[in-house]
Symmetry: C3
Subunit: 673 residues, 3 copies
Amino acid sequence: MKKLLYGADYNPDQWLDHPEILAKDIEYMKKARINCVTINIFGWSTLEPAEGQYHLDWLKDAVDRLYEAGISTIMATPSGAIPNWLSAKYPEVLQVRENGVRNLPGGRHNFCYTSPVMREKVKQHDHLLGKTFARHPGLIMWHISNEMGGNGYDASCHCDACQKAFRLWLEERYGSLEQLNHAWWTNFWSHTYTDWEQISSPQLNGELQLHGLNLDWKRFVTHQMIDFYQMEYDTVKAVNQEIPVTTNFMEYFKPLDYFKFKDRLDIVSWDSYPNWHGIAGDEDEVSVAVSTAVNHNIMRSIKKQPFLLMESTPSLVNWKPYNRAKKPGMNMLASMQAIAHGSDSVLYFQWRMGRGAYEKHHGAVIDHYGETDTRVFAEVEQLGRRIATISPAVSGTVNHPKVAVIFDWENWWALDDAAGPSRNMNYTKVIESHYRPFWEMGIDVDVIDMEQSLDGYQLIIAPMSYMIKAVFAERIKAFVQNGGSFVTTYWSGIVDETDLCYLGGVPGKIREMLGIRAEELDTLPQNERVGFDFRGNTYYSQRLIASIKVETAEVLGTYSQDVYQGKAAVTKKACGNGNAYYLSGEHEVAFLKEFYRNLAQDNGISSGIKTELPYGVTVTMRTCENYELLFVQNFNDKPVRIELDRSYELVDTGDYVEGEVVMKPYECMLIKK
Amino acid sequence: MKKLLYGADYNPDQWLDHPEILAKDIEYMKKARINCVTINIFGWSTLEPAEGQYHLDWLKDAVDRLYEAGISTIMATPSGAIPNWLSAKYPEVLQVRENGVRNLPGGRHNFCYTSPVMREKVKQHDHLLGKTFARHPGLIMWHISNEMGGNGYDASCHCDACQKAFRLWLEERYGSLEQLNHAWWTNFWSHTYTDWEQISSPQLNGELQLHGLNLDWKRFVTHQMIDFYQMEYDTVKAVNQEIPVTTNFMEYFKPLDYFKFKDRLDIVSWDSYPNWHGIAGDEDEVSVAVSTAVNHNIMRSIKKQPFLLMESTPSLVNWKPYNRAKKPGMNMLASMQAIAHGSDSVLYFQWRMGRGAYEKHHGAVIDHYGETDTRVFAEVEQLGRRIATISPAVSGTVNHPKVAVIFDWENWWALDDAAGPSRNMNYTKVIESHYRPFWEMGIDVDVIDMEQSLDGYQLIIAPMSYMIKAVFAERIKAFVQNGGSFVTTYWSGIVDETDLCYLGGVPGKIREMLGIRAEELDTLPQNERVGFDFRGNTYYSQRLIASIKVETAEVLGTYSQDVYQGKAAVTKKACGNGNAYYLSGEHEVAFLKEFYRNLAQDNGISSGIKTELPYGVTVTMRTCENYELLFVQNFNDKPVRIELDRSYELVDTGDYVEGEVVMKPYECMLIKK
Amino acid sequence: MKKLLYGADYNPDQWLDHPEILAKDIEYMKKARINCVTINIFGWSTLEPAEGQYHLDWLKDAVDRLYEAGISTIMATPSGAIPNWLSAKYPEVLQVRENGVRNLPGGRHNFCYTSPVMREKVKQHDHLLGKTFARHPGLIMWHISNEMGGNGYDASCHCDACQKAFRLWLEERYGSLEQLNHAWWTNFWSHTYTDWEQISSPQLNGELQLHGLNLDWKRFVTHQMIDFYQMEYDTVKAVNQEIPVTTNFMEYFKPLDYFKFKDRLDIVSWDSYPNWHGIAGDEDEVSVAVSTAVNHNIMRSIKKQPFLLMESTPSLVNWKPYNRAKKPGMNMLASMQAIAHGSDSVLYFQWRMGRGAYEKHHGAVIDHYGETDTRVFAEVEQLGRRIATISPAVSGTVNHPKVAVIFDWENWWALDDAAGPSRNMNYTKVIESHYRPFWEMGIDVDVIDMEQSLDGYQLIIAPMSYMIKAVFAERIKAFVQNGGSFVTTYWSGIVDETDLCYLGGVPGKIREMLGIRAEELDTLPQNERVGFDFRGNTYYSQRLIASIKVETAEVLGTYSQDVYQGKAAVTKKACGNGNAYYLSGEHEVAFLKEFYRNLAQDNGISSGIKTELPYGVTVTMRTCENYELLFVQNFNDKPVRIELDRSYELVDTGDYVEGEVVMKPYECMLIKK
């Protein structure tokens, strides 16, 4: 982006009978320094109230008036939810659920992504939107649909059309039933397929225990979703290739492998709703910050480019079991965190609260009260001023981490679908535990999948990589040979891409590089932990422990308790110019901090500020050719002191700071060198 | 009632092949001083074993023999459950559930309330019952069906006939789709209806997120149930207008708005099954007593008349997760509590335990043993003697509270259906927390809905009144103007009757009267609480706290902690001759006691006995023109001392008491002045 | 068995394209001293890949090669799971679930046991298997299907064919609807049946509250399963009557009454997967050992003969929420425990891990690594050597307990189905609590149902025998008359075989013998317990307490607290030459130990070794005409000292031991006298 975007989801269609409110909207947006809005999300029934009858005047009017006020438009295609007339006339557009029953109208993303009628209808209005707005000077971006697949249960349809499409996709993938039967190991329980027609999607009253089928179905769902998305992309983009296209993603949205959208998007965007202040009072603010940072980094890593924060709430949401208001200052900090991690925008859902239905209590810039003398508006306005101030310095900068953590959707699916070893594999929490030491050190980290390039990194961490894909095994070996450091853990290298177990010893294709064989994996009771020695200290491992045989590796840590006594807890093997490390259990965060601190030092990886960061404070760096920007973020609700290593320019004021600085609660200091 | 009724549900139809047991029944009823029974509940298959073949002899015989023994009959219509031949021949009488699937035969209240066949069949036997018994000297009351809607899941049917009836009801309510679309705010997620046929009831695989639809469906369910009930009422009443009609209600039965039955019943009755002694050991006996008292008061407040306790258990029930026996004395105390709160009866479910099926282990006066030398029978007999003794003094007396708490079904529905702010709104528990201080002070309280008259009250309390209905807003303003005191809380005045949020500031139509604006509502983690100062003490608020802006109100209490520091916790505003109070958080009971003690004093509201009541003891008053009766109830399982303020007559003995009295565990002392 | 069997489930059909693996299998089996395998489980799709096309070569080849290597074959019939071509062509073979919906293909035991097509197809391949293998010298046993009914939800099918068969079964059982209506007490809630066609199985959207229907449905399911099983039995046995037939049972498998298979099996076998080391860390190893022992004893008691351990895991399983590896030594101990309790075999599931699908992570002798230099293989090999060593001494010996605990499936069904008194009746845990004192004393105990012979026992214990069958009542009275001791408890003697409550006082038909009347049953809150005095000590009762009236019994223990004060906690009545005891509450294990210790002494019942056993150690005895074998099992993970009462021969070495012996952690010492 040429400047930082600041905006909100805007639904004038809910207030067309209140022109005075529409007028106030513009006035108050300007007051808040908003420079763009997302419009037309869920606008279908207003846009096309009856089949083929299009009403675009309200939308054109809105875009015009916004433009006149200096506010740009991100135009959504309204396929996120379908109008009642459509499902009444073409019931086949409605989704069939896992239980084999077709949905009634209702909700959102309640349609079949395969249905030709659905696709045709969407294409028609997307074409019309393209024709009408593609060259409007206010238009800066297309926004395809909204939170694709986000219907609250799963992202898939099990109708006959989808079953047929799935079988064709499988035929293309496997070529023959023989290949498929082998890949899915179907003669277990006598489930060998002898006709393509015998194959169905995993349904609640059908086949659920063929992991290969389950995995391929999930792949197909992502494939089909992208196919639908691409149809919309092509349609809106047809008139003017200059307008970039996005679609907004969600946090850890398991049904869709977002990395597969990589080449289909011009820019990634997502909707971030962290549980600030702990919804159950049991979460440290830091762990929320870490989890949010991981998600920002996933979004940034998809295209390895800046992304957009497409939705966030100015204060609270309404759809969690318990919904906390953001405390004063947290909206500023959370927004700055997004920018620090690579966002070129802060947008809110929503500009103005609707009066009825499911999201009427979702936070908004303007609530039902309707005026601006509120705490929330004041904080929104304050951030608007700051974004305007820092935009020239920030736009054009990017993040360039030397460390990457592997987070792979297909691995996640396979890991959780497997029967055993434990009901709760906690993949995302494990990922976060390996990321946290870097957050605490102020070192940025990409979060990539196994199919992405490893170029430019010095350290790759692949926690619990149950599925090791062939391409990744090859690349990681080359990476280590060329001097990189690689870390992996227990329960890695178990299966290949089709979810078949590797023969010949765990961790499969990377076993030789690691110089060990993981013989058994044990699940510990929740109240047990096992101690091990590492560099003179005792640390603990819990939940999952692999019992390994060391073959050619060097042992860095050794268990000292229980049946594990004397077994290796941490190993290292030099390969070419690099090193491969194996952590044999779910080691505590205290160990990971010590371990990664050493690894960072060994690899010359350090934070942008050379100082010891207080607890709860991190630093994230964006750079351009000419300077480095450091976002120093204090997630404590109290002041902290930080000792700067040199003099920096404060981007907000142009002043300079050095020496000891006292940061306010929830402050984000933006400094430049 | 001219005398207190004492009786039980009686099912001679289960024992027709055991005349010796039927004979014993009458003998033992007389021994227990039972003066009435409810008969014919679930009698359909005996009454009409095949279509159109009516067998009334057993029923006539039972009513005759009871009458000869001095026992009156409350005659039920047997529509609570349907015979198998009916559903076999007319499958359309069976309910269709929320998942769109029609039930198989089984259970009770498993029929469509709309079905013309069902209505016709019920009408036929009701007509026959009317013709046969309406002038029988033993008949004292009609009892329509049984626990209407009580099928264990919800009270509704989703069949096509019900869908049609629902659409017609909506057309009548809204006049046009335009009105309906606005009221339900349907263009959220593009759900605008363009044809009445597009509307369906909320179903599990359909539309569940339009709060207006959900709310109207619940209203329709109550409407349709009453329509069915009215058909039965008219039928049985046709022959003899003198016989009063009731139907029995249940505790906090959410699917039906019982207040809407107000003008359709000659007398309210209900079935009370409190968790005495705590099923999980985690409930104080007082909180059970308070919860039970609230329910009695709801029943009394529906018609603002005495009601009937239609069912209670002599000892235990069988349908709770854990079923405790009543301890010695508790049956007496619980029964007297019902009378104290306005019941003119104590009836048991059931007279005699059946040998098989779902309720075979439900408590009864006569168990499978079959004789009367049991603890339970002894306690039943003891109560029978007491009721006979006190009946002349009690019958004709009524309760006349000066305080009312608002408990509104439509508010309850809307509150719990809303997405946000918290999964657990705990409406009934909140209601009880506001009632408890009065229970502890011995002050009686009506529990009314928002549509009832406010005449005669001095203090109205409306906790968590999320939906403020227009009629209530008008009346409460007049009430305060005329000198009443009004208390409301956080999360009140959010939506109107159609569940649309009020614009212009919370709490909507009563905001000016309160002189505040509730700007935000926060949900606290479970382990957090926030202190506030009130009259020199610190109290705590938890779970839900509104952040308010004081406009014209006086601040009585102020938060001293966290982000709430300095914000108002309690406000007061004088309006005309009265005062309006706002409590901005879920304040602890200790505060509510202090607060309401002051308010009661300010309004000159006091208990019937001017004395400090020990913990666990309450006083409830019934009066007539000539005297006041005080029910002093000790819910402790140990003796307590109570200091009387004057001399009273003991109704049971005619003796007089004064000064310090020692009450036995679970004793209810009935005194007169 | 003439020798102890040592083997595993073997699936060569999964590796037919890997002849080198098949060759290794034989080599490694020999190394592990395996002497038999179970083969062809789930082999249908390989055996008959298309309708009527049978491929038996692979199976013949496997049996031949095994035989040549000295390894016998247990041949399974492959009806545990059906091939896709079968359900595609004959959809009626698929099960209809409780919700009335027919399954899609998938899982195992997903077929209708009534379907004529299914039966015909199974008969065809069973016939072929019989013809091909019945006289093969390698064949030692037929193994019908696999874990019958084990589909993960319940064992029943609700299709029309099953409904019809159920109605015919009911007609045969009851003769008339009048009888059935009485037995099921159907006029409760007006559910009287007037046509057999009105009866359906209990379904989720239908009749679930007629306990008699529920109970008879469960009986029918067992009946129908046995009918199917018998068809397979007859088919495979036709060619050679000498080959014994078994089917493998599961732990506490509630849907099937295994005792009803008694006369249909030549030998009982079962699959044991205890939670060694506690999956949640909250279970003592002893309670796991006790629970496992109870299950072994059930299996032994079905035919009162030695049984087979058909499946066990060499280390871990994959289908529990958390899956622990067996610690070193536990596989030896658990296997020896099985043999001690009457098993003539130790077989593993599975020989070799499959590469894909649901059980790919289930423990196996050979894992995906594929070689034998693993901890697991070493332990398997060690046990193989030991089994070969002890086989001559053990084979031919049997267990002969003098004590029996009643565990009756129909009682279990009725107990748990009843509404009231408590959601959790914990029947199996209660059974285990009465067994545990004997385990700790080293006294063996049969676990029989109410229909089995009581001959040969001196002490019969019937905990929580809610349903007392007429035949049992008669036999137990004779048993006590003839000098036996009988113990029963609260909530016994409530209903008869049709689940109708006994009239005339609890515990029904055995009330006079016990000399008490149980008047009420109370459910205590979870944190409450009530003390009682017994032989000078205070013990506690909890959860469920019956309030009893002592009529002719002697009181041995008396409550000292709460409303139970003065009531009897333990009674005894002499009848003829024996005694009948009643325990009125769920008394703690400490009491049961004291109580049964005395009862054992009184009856002259003692352990095989006269010594005080340390905690966690038990002794189990198998005998033959010439000697007694004592299995001394240490379930502690630390060494214990045990004082022998005389000199014994160590079976493993032929050496003699006497005096104090130190047993290693998890050691099982096998001694002979």
